[in-house]
C-alpha cells in the first residue's frame, strides 16, 4: 500500500508540474486596494501608469482572426489588438477617423477614398519585425474580409485600389450607406499579410495588428493575456497589460469580482446586478444598450398568420407589468419598436401606433378571427432565465385573457436557432443587438431576403418594406435615410409582426481600483482610445 501511495503521489506531482508549466496565471497584483495600501503605493498614487487589468468575458472565444470571428466577446479582444479604418466615438454618436485620417465619398456613393496615417506600425510578430502599415495592408485586409468573412461583413466591397502608400480607393458593387459603419467592425481590422499567411489557421490565436495592446499568451478555455504596445501610434495606454478571462458561469463571474480576482465583470444580469449594487467595494456601471428583446409570431402558418390574431395577442399583454416581472433589478427599459432608442433611426412618434393593453378588444379580435375559444400553440426560447421568465408571463396573459394554451419549449442555442430560423416555431423569443445604423436591425429582421435566417424566421414579407429598406441602403444622406426607415417602421408596426418588449441595459461590475472605464451601448470594451484610457488606482 505504501509503495502504491508513493507512486500515486509521484504521478500527482508530475502531472501538476506539467500542466502548470503552461498555465495562465491570475495576476499577482489583483488584490483589492480599498484596504491595506502600502506606503510605496501611496507614494505613487498620483501616477496612472502601470498595472494589469483583468476583464471577465462571459463566453469562450474560438478565434480572434478578424475575418473569422462571430461573437461580441471575440470582437472585444480584436479591437484592443488591431485597429479599424474608422471608429465610433465612445457614445456611438458619430464615426471618426482612426487608421484613415480623412475620407471622401463619390457622388454615386460607390467610391470611398481614404487618406491613411503615415505613423502607424504593426506590432512585432513572428513573420515581420514591426514594419510600417501601408495602403497595401488596407487592400489586403479589406479584400480578404470581402472574400473570406464568414459573416459576409464586406459583401458590398468590389475591390480596393492603391493610389499611393497612404491613400486607397474602395469601390463598392453598389451604393451602400452602411459601408462606413461596417468598417468600424473588428472584423475589418487591418492586419499584416505575412502574419496571416505565416500562421495559417493559427492566426486566430496569434493576431497581430496596430492596436494599443498585443497578444502575448492564449490559454484556451482560460484566458488571453495582452501586453501594452509601446509603439502604439495613438495615446499610449496607461495599463501595462490586460487579461481577458473566460468565465461562462455568471454567478462565478460575480464571485470572482467580489474576491478581486477580476476587475471588470461584463454582461451582468439578474441576481448578479443586485449583488454588485449591494457590495460597497464594487461599482455598478450601466448604459442603455443597443438591444431589443422581442418575440415573433409566425406569419407563414398557424393562427398567427392572421393579422387580427397577432393584434389580439399584443393587446392581451400588459408589457409594463411584464417588464417588472422579468427584470426585477431594473436591468431593462420597456421597448415599443424593433429598433433601440439609441439608434438614429428611432422615432418616438411611432410608439403610439403600437396597440395598447386592452383584453376586451383582444377577445373581440380573436373571436372575429375565428378563435373564440382560443387555441393551443408553442413558444421556443433559448435556455436563458430572462427568456424563460418572459415566456412564462406571456403564457399566463394568453391563458387569462384569450384562453390560448401556450406551451413553453426551452432549448439550447443550437436546437433553438435551427427550429426558429426554419420557420417551424409558432412563437419564438430572442434579442437583437448591433450598430446604431437601422440597416443592421431592420434589413436583417424584416427583409424577405432574410427569410430562413434567425433574423427573419417568422417569415415577414411585405414588398413595400423591402422597397423602403433597399432605398435607404442606397441613400447616403442620413436624414433622408432616417425618413425612409421611419416609413418602413410604420409598415412593420402596423403589421403587428411581433412584440418588442424590452431594451436591456449593458451592465458591468467594476472593482474600485478601475478608473476611466466607460461602457458602450454596443457592449464593446474599449481600454484605450482617443475617448478613454483606463487606469488602475494604486
Amino acid at each position: 500500500m505504501r509503495k502504491e501511495f508513493k507512486w500515486v503521489s509521484f504521478v500527482l506531482v508530475l502531472v501538476l508540474v506539467l500542466s502548470m508549466l503552461t498555465g495562465c496565471g491570475s495576476k499577482a497584483d489583483n488584490n483589492q486596494t480599498s484596504s491595506g495600501s502600502t506606503a510605496a503605493n501611496e507614494a505613487s498614487q498620483d501616477s496612472k501608469e502601470g498595472g494589469k487589468l483583468t476583464i471577465a468575458l462571459s463566453a469562450n472565444p474560438k478565434t480572434v482572426d478578424p475575418v473569422k470571428y462571430t461573437g461580441v466577446y471575440e470582437g472585444n479582444i480584436i479591437s484592443n489588438v488591431a485597429d479599424t479604418m474608422v471608429r465610433y466615438k465612445q457614445d456611438l454618436s458619430e464615426i471618426t477617423p482612426n487608421i484613415a485620417s480623412e475620407w471622401t465619398v463619390s457622388e454615386d456613393g460607390k467610391v470611398y477614398t481614404f487618406k491613411l496615417r503615415d505613423d502607424i506600425y504593426f506590432q512585432k510578430g513572428k513573420f515581420q519585425d514591426g514594419r510600417q502599415m501601408k495602403a497595401e495592408d488596407v487592400k489586403y485586409s479589406l479584400e480578404r474580409s470581402a472574400k473570406e468573412s464568414a459573416m459576409k461583413r464586406l459583401s458590398m466591397l468590389d475591390k480596393v485600389e492603391i493610389v499611393n502608400d497612404f491613400e486607397v480607393k474602395c469601390y463598392l458593387k453598389e451604393a451602400a450607406a452602411s459601408f462606413l459603419t461596417v468598417l468600424t467592425d473588428a472584423g475589418n481590422a487591418i492586419v499584416p499579410k505575412e502574419e496571416v499567411e505565416g500562421w495559417g489557421d493559427s492566426f486566430g490565436f496569434n493576431l497581430v495588428g496596430t492596436g494599443p495592446f498585443r497578444i502575448v499568451d492564449w490559454k484556451k478555455d482560460d484566458c488571453v493575456v495582452l501586453e501594452k504596445n509601446d509603439k502604439y501610434w495613438g495615446e499610449k495606454p496607461y495599463l501595462d497589460g490586460v487579461t481577458f478571462k473566460f468565465i461562462t458561469d455568471k454567478n462565478m463571474m460575480t464571485n470572482a469580482l467580489r474576491t478581486g480576482e477580476i476587475d471588470i465583470a461584463t454582461d451582468l444580469t439578474g441576481e448578479s446586478v443586485k449583488l454588485v449594487k449591494e457590495d460597497s467595494k464594487l461599482v455598478l456601471k450601466e448604459v442603455p444598450g443597443l438591444q431589443v428583446s422581442y418575440f415573433y409570431m409566425n406569419m407563414l402558418e398557424g393562427p398567427t398568420k392572421d393579422k387580427r390574431v397577432r393584434e389580439a395577442i399584443i393587446r392581451a399583454i400588459d408589457i409594463d407589468q411584464m417588464i417588472k416581472g422579468i427584470y426585477q433589478y431594473d436591468e431593462a427599459k420597456r421597448a415599443y419598436l424593433p429598433l433601440p432608442p439609441g439608434s438614429w433611426g428611432y422615432d418616438a412618434s411611432l410608439e403610439s401606433l403600437v396597440p395598447t393593453y386592452d383584453p376586451e378588444k383582444a377577445k373581440e379580435l380573436l373571436k372575429e378571427a375565428g378563435y373564440p375559444d382560443g387555441f393551443k400553440t408553442q413558444i421556443y426560447v433559448a435556455d436563458k432565465p430572462a427568456r424563460v421568465k418572459m415566456a412564462t408571463i406571456l403564457q399566463q396573459y394568453l391563458k387569462q385573457n384569450l384562453n390560448i394554451d401556450l406551451e413553453i419549449k426551452t432549448a439550447d442555442w443550437g436546437t433553438f436557432s435551427d427550429i426558429a430560423s426554419k420557420g417551424k416555431a409558432p412563437f419564438y423569443g430572442m434579442s437583437w443587438s448591433w450598430y446604431p445604423d437601422p440597416y443592421f436591425f431592420l434589413n436583417q429582421m424584416f427583409h424577405t431576403s432574410q427569410i430562413g435566417s434567425l433574423g427573419n424566421g417568422q417569415g415577414f414579407n411585405v414588398p413595400e418594406v423591402d422597397k423602403l429598406l433597399d432605398e435607404a441602403l442606397k441613400e447616403s444622406d442620413q436624414s433622408k435615410r432616417a425618413e425612409l426607415y421611419k416609413q418602413a417602421l410604420k409598415f412593420i408596426v402596423q403589421e403587428h409582426a411581433r412584440v418588442d418588449y424590452s431594451n436591456e441595459k449593458v451592465v458591468c461590475g467594476l472593482t474600485q481600483r478601475v478608473q476611466g472605464f466607460e461602457l458602450r451601448a454596443d457592449s464593446q470594451i474599449v481600454i484605450t482610445s482617443p475617448d478613454v484610457n483606463v487606469w488602475l488606482k494604486k
Binding site: 500515486v8 490559454k219 478555455d221 482560460d222 443550437g414 427550429i419 436583417q444 432574410q450
Partner: protein
C-alpha cells in the same frame, strides 16, 4: 497476465467501433446546425449555406460517416469546426488539466472515505458510525453546482482564503497552483469520498464477521493489525471496483465542477462542443472517454490479480 491484457486490448476494437457509430448517429439526430451555431444569430442565410458547404455538412450522412471512418483508420480524427484545429490537439491540451484535478480529488476521496468507512465498520452503531453515514448520504446526494457555489461564497468571497476561478500558474509560485486546486478538488471529491465511505463500511462489515478474522483475534493479534492489515486487504476488491468507476467518471470530465470553477479541462471542452454542435470534437472526445473507461477497467482487473492472486481471468471465474 500478458495474455489477459492482450485479449482485453483486442476486445477494445469492436467496443470502440460501436461507440464511434453510436455517437455519430446520436450527434446527427440532435437538432441544430453547426454552421448556424458558429455564425451566431446575425448570420444571413447565404453565409450559413456557404459555411455548411465548407464544412462538408451538405454531404449525405452516409458519406460523412464513411469519410469519418476512413479518417480514423488513417489516424485523422478531424478538425474541430469551432476551433478550426485538430481535435486530438484540443483533447490533449485539456486532458492534463482534468488529470490533475481528478487525481487530486481521488486522493482526497480515498484519504477521507476509506478511513471513515473502516472506523464506521469497526465501531458499528456508534455515534461516529451514524454521523458519518448520514454525512456520506448527504455527500452522495449533494448537487455539485450548489456545493461549489457555497464553497466559493465561504472560502473565497467571505473568508478570502482561496481563489475562486482558474488554474493558477507556477510563475506565481507553487502555492498559487495548490490554492487554485483546493476548492475544485474538494468539491469534486465529495461524491467519491461519500461513496468510498459507504462501500468500505459495508465491505468491511462483511469481512470482520468471517471466521478467519475471529481466528486472528484469538491468536492474540492486535485489533489495529487485524483491521488495517488483514480485514482491509480482503475488503478491497469492491472498493477498487468503485475506485475504477469513479476515476473513469472524473477523467471523462467533471463537467459541473470545471464549469463552476472555470477549470479548462475535458468537461468544459465537451459541454462547449455539444453546445456548438462541433461534431468532430464530440465524436473524438467521447471516443477518448470510451478508451479511458476500458483502460481503467483493465487496470482494475490487473489490480485484483495483484491484491488477490487467487483471482484468475483465464477460467472466467474467481479461482477458488
Amino acid at each position: 497476465m500478458l495474455k489477459t491484457i492482450l485479449r482485453r486490448i483486442l476486445q477494445l476494437i469492436p467496443i470502440l467501433f460501436i461507440v464511434v457509430t453510436f455517437i455519430f448517429i446520436i450527434t446527427r439526430m440532435v437538432p441544430g446546425d453547426p454552421a448556424a451555431v458558429m455564425l451566431g444569430p446575425q448570420a444571413s442565410v447565404e453565409s450559413v449555406q456557404e459555411l455548411r458547404e465548407e464544412l462538408g455538412l451538405n454531404k449525405s450522412v452516409g458519406e460523412q460517416y464513411v469519410n469519418y471512418l476512413k479518417g480514423i483508420m488513417h489516424g485523422d480524427f478531424g478538425k474541430s469546426y469551432y476551433y478550426n484545429e485538430p481535435v486530438i490537439k484540443l483533447i490533449l491540451e485539456r486532458f492534463p488539466n482534468t488529470l490533475l484535478l481528478s487525481i487530486a480529488s481521488i486522493i482526497i476521496a480515498i484519504l477521507i472515505g476509506i478511513p471513515v468507512g473502516i472506523i464506521s465498520a469497526t465501531k458499528q452503531y456508534s455515534i461516529f458510525d451514524y454521523m458519518s453515514m448520514v454525512l456520506a448520504l448527504v455527500g452522495v446526494s449533494m448537487p455539485i453546482f450548489w456545493l461549489g457555489l457555497m464553497m466559493v461564497l465561504v472560502f473565497s468571497v467571505n473568508l478570502a482564503w482561496l481563489p475562486s476561478i482558474g488554474m493558477g500558474s507556477l510563475e506565481n509560485g507553487l502555492w498559487d497552483v495548490i490554492s487554485h486546486l483546493i476548492l475544485p478538488s474538494f468539491c469534486l471529491a465529495t461524491i467519491p469520498a461519500a461513496t468510498f465511505a459507504r462501500i468500505t463500511r459495508s465491505s468491511m462489515l462483511e469481512i470482520v464477521k468471517q471466521d478467519y478474522i475471529k481466528a486472528l483475534r484469538a491468536k492474540g493479534l492486535k485489533e489495529k493489525a487485524v483491521t488495517w492489515k488483514h480485514a482491509l486487504k480482503n475488503a478491497l476488491p469492491p472498493i477498487i471496483t468503485v475506485l475504477g468507476l469513479q476515476m473513469s467518471g472524473l477523467l471523462s470530465g467533471a463537467i459541473l465542477t470545471e464549469t463552476i470553477f472555470s477549470w479548462p479541462g475535458m468537461g468544459k471542452l465537451i459541454v462547449d462542443a455539444i453546445g456548438n454542435r462541433d461534431y468532430a470534437l464530440i465524436q473524438s472526445a467521447v471516443l477518448f472517454i470510451a478508451i479511458i473507461y476500458v483502460f481503467i477497467n483493465l487496470l482494475v482487473d490487473i489490480t485484483y490479480l495483484y491484491i488477490n492472486p487467487k483471482v484468475s481471468y483465464e477460467t472466467g471465474n474467481g479461482g477458488e
